[in-house]
Symmetry: C2
Subunit: 359 residues, 2 copies
Amino acid sequence: MAMGSRQPAGKAAGTTRPAPRTLLRAAAALAVAVGAGCGPTADAGPSEPPQQASSLESWNEGPAKAAIVDFVGRITDPSSADFRPEAERIAVFDNDGTLWAEQPMYFQLIYALDQVREMAPEHPEWVTEEPFASVIRDDQEALAGFGLPELMQILAVSHAGMTKEAFDARAREWQQTARHPRFDRLYSSLTYRPMVELLEYLRANGFQTWIVSGGGVDFLRNFSEEAYGIPPEQVVGSSLKSEYRSDASSPWIVKVPELGSVDDKAGKPVNIDLHIGRRPILAFGNSDGDFEMLEYITTGDGARLGLILHHDDADREWAYDRDSHVGRLDRGLDEAAARGWVLVSMARDFSVVFSEQQR
Amino acid sequence: MAMGSRQPAGKAAGTTRPAPRTLLRAAAALAVAVGAGCGPTADAGPSEPPQQASSLESWNEGPAKAAIVDFVGRITDPSSADFRPEAERIAVFDNDGTLWAEQPMYFQLIYALDQVREMAPEHPEWVTEEPFASVIRDDQEALAGFGLPELMQILAVSHAGMTKEAFDARAREWQQTARHPRFDRLYSSLTYRPMVELLEYLRANGFQTWIVSGGGVDFLRNFSEEAYGIPPEQVVGSSLKSEYRSDASSPWIVKVPELGSVDDKAGKPVNIDLHIGRRPILAFGNSDGDFEMLEYITTGDGARLGLILHHDDADREWAYDRDSHVGRLDRGLDEAAARGWVLVSMARDFSVVFSEQQR
């Protein structure tokens, strides 16, 4: 069974099938490779009722939580030298690996591969046509060798050539049905509860919370409001170009298979400037793809806070950093201390990892 | 004296110098030509105190005001079939010719030409180098012949090759000192009071108010908050590409002389989708550059409102439409009625035109 297929993957959590070892890390910022294997152990804690977090209750006491509370306290205290009016309280968050999981590969890439398989019956020629043939066969070795040309072909059929409405309908259906191979749960249940609490905590303190993700903006907007309380207009991501077309009846917007913006690395501060137009004061990422964003946000005037989520919890989630092809964190680990960035340890700082224990 | 120069242009209002007849209408959406001449007559009404408009008091009673009030009433009435939650109450406004004046040429182009003149002493080679030589000489005939190549050269020196902070400082200084040749007032005082009232009225009714302008996004963001109460993150405009750079001390973003997005015509709905991600329900423009935006916004599901400001008031402002090179309104005039778009007459519907009578 393909990873991330629509069918309940009851056995997938224990499967020994190796994840593809490298599945392209390409400019689409969708590209992906799998470093850490799928460990068999999910967090087995008691099922907790889903609840609206109104505090940082899923954060353990420690330096990370203290740094956040201290920063927000200073920013919101009119008597503090670090006080900022609400208009300037802008926080930016990476998504993959920061707000939700990103292993064994970016969830949006799983979506793209699933789309190819779902569309295959309408495209009998794909049985022999690469890269589609390998996707349909779930040929892990072939997938591992894909590069940007193959990725663009997959994006072209899974993300382009359709109206925005058609894309949204497909993405939402997948998001509401597809299940993660290790945890056998909806991908949307693999958001991190402490991070959702942090978003709510910041908004309760007058912050705007933005997503600035390497993932595709249209894909993100189909779940950001429900999962994070973040409306579409506060989601910045990678994008294909799109075109406006109209006929006698009505107009539509169609995505074309050409890269528009790659919202990764130096593309993040550039897009922050384009979309927000004001330098945020808090940034939270987890990989070297967030390095420039963290650098840009934390070198402005006044009090600023940069945070990096370190995936060091193989039991409850995954442990990976310098050697991972997904969410590689190398330079950030080296320079965090000198730059004053707070390293958040999933193992130490998160009392609960995922937003919902069962779903 | 050059039009729009920094020096108080005490005599400019009465000058007989002809405005350049055509000064390029180019893909930058900055490009411009001058159709209507500068009439000598400003509105001579009594000086009214600047005030925060909290209603539509500068709108005369009539079908335009009635259509607005009726629409907002239905959208905000929970018992109405047209009711919308606040998240969906998004209104988009063109800027040049819709929120502020655009004659005798787009104000941002005046800024660009002024910048060239101000920088000229540091560039002695410009005395003989086109297009700068013509700008420095204020050679109206030569300016009238400029096309996209000349415009890009002017943008390259006036809008690119500098940090965002440096651009912002220059733009703000100009906006706070340069004076309009006809009215001898700051350009920022040539916003339309009824439109500022409308923005406030919509926000008081739970709407987000966005600017979607052919003008440059960085230029706009330096006055949108003060002039319209619209924060930087709700300003969408044309843009040059930018790059992120960093050295040992700190990073910076620099604009490069290459077109990024042209936020005009079909570029407007495309950018609305990219930046807002949700189809607005109200759009207000004034030229055929807004046609696609109006079409896109008014053809969605549910109640929607499209409005076009018709410049038909030569005494208080200007009268121009089909034959103007700035803000040409031709197809929009033909199709407004059939499409249900409300034509707002400046002469008939605005009891006051500009935000401030003196400044």
